[in-house]
Subunit: 325 residues, 2 copies
Amino acid sequence: MKAITQKDLNDPTSLVLEDVADPVPGEGEILVKVHTAGVNRGDLLQARGHYPPPPGASEIIGMECSGTVVANDTGEGPAVGSEVGCLLAGGGYAELVAVPVGQTAPLPEGLSLAETGSIIEVACTAWSNLGMAAGLRPGTAEGKKVLVHGGSGGVGSFAVQMLHALGCEVAVTAGSAEKLEYCRELGASKLINYREQDFAEELKGWADVILDIMGAKYLKGNIRALAPDGQLVIIGMQGGTKAEINLAPLLPKRLSIHGTTLRARPVEGKAEIVADAVENVWPLIADGSITHRVHETFPLAEAAQAHAALDSGEVTGKLALRVTD
Amino acid sequence: MKAITQKDLNDPTSLVLEDVADPVPGEGEILVKVHTAGVNRGDLLQARGHYPPPPGASEIIGMECSGTVVANDTGEGPAVGSEVGCLLAGGGYAELVAVPVGQTAPLPEGLSLAETGSIIEVACTAWSNLGMAAGLRPGTAEGKKVLVHGGSGGVGSFAVQMLHALGCEVAVTAGSAEKLEYCRELGASKLINYREQDFAEELKGWADVILDIMGAKYLKGNIRALAPDGQLVIIGMQGGTKAEINLAPLLPKRLSIHGTTLRARPVEGKAEIVADAVENVWPLIADGSITHRVHETFPLAEAAQAHAALDSGEVTGKLALRVTD
């Protein structure tokens, strides 16, 4: 098959399309012919050597895709010929991928095969952190105040719509008036331009839950922005990993800080997330509460250009790679 | 009534018994004649000016007691004449205390009025953090690995027995062979002398849950000791409040850090904890799984001596003050 490989491990832009061996499905895995692969920030980190795939996973970049099942000997899950979305530990930037059967999902009603290729990673990231870890679910989320950092990004724009649909009051940070306007359209009601405003000062004690992608840089501000019983969920460390922390406010306010990544979870954990997301989030896509914005789709051979585009910070919504027709 | 007051706010040892005005029960509160008041580390902090009572609470020290109901106009809860244990925001070092009705509990089966005076604070602290926050409950706790720092102390010795009864594997830290032997008798199977061993090195990646009283000093070691999906619950900061934190291990291991105090919780939250503890923990006291060790009981007038004893670090179990007969 054809797949993207990195010629020079010291050069994250050296991504080229070449012939590699077809993947062989392992125990409990099915084989999927990839139609569209989503491009995620983790992919950029992997190309820079900072985010290796978990042991046993494909070395090929790519954490999500859509495609058609071409082999399934597991005795369960989608039949050969079915169209599916796949949450991957790796291997999406390729014509074929082997995926644990529990990490496949039906296409959300109303979404094309192309669109589905870049939705499952954000959907599972948003749902596992906000719905499952922070407990913002149908029936419990109503009226909760949630701050989403990077509200116009891939995970952010999905999370804002999902939270709005669940009845939350949503605040966002973003770096321009245009991005904030986009967040407002998605359902955010508090808009904070981080270049001009101090979010912690604006929101001190307001947030029941914060979805953070900045790590160290925002840690102090996030603690200040939390309300009593508030939960900080950190899913990215774009602002570094090492910080000073003052534990003193955590105890009387009963705050919690939770770090997660989706990729490193065991297969069973991912299957549980996919199933819970299909049950709770797919209906919000089907009824139009969550729309999926694909900012741009590149041919697979132009993976390096797609990475450069995501790295520019000028993207609202998701980027994707068209692998096969 | 007679109560302990602090003559000099700059001298934590200046605790004297004197006449003060009787408390007047507010909305939803009942009046209890105190029999025995428990002595807790928070009391020492309050005498040092570091742990003020929440707004509206009694300025008198004392976060728990047992006693007899002498007035109840709330229309619910225990009748006048009933013996109860009370979880207090303050006011325990006195002959009378006003307490929200939801913060009273029946005496655990098999415990005397005197013993009950120093059990409800540790029981509610252990249960709210381990049972409610960390989810170590009947049916889910079995086989979980839990590290209890200060395993021979008031909360620690209660927590070790409770966890052992719930089927957990329990590790403890303590500062002497005698204290560790005591922890072993309570049900701990991994014994770490913190003066001789590095608990993080001994337990790296072992603990599903850690109950911590040290704060900053142990933060790095606690993160290292946690297993994937591990939860650190910080209930004390005897090792300071400011630390360097490296967030990097939190994400791939999906760790969470949760700070709590019991005292600052709203009245409804405390009522919920007391009710859940009575349901889940009282049976473990009744069947002998948890024994309550009162290290020493002082007359109320000797509150300063009781504080000095707790401060010495030489106490295994709880200290109490006998208020009335």
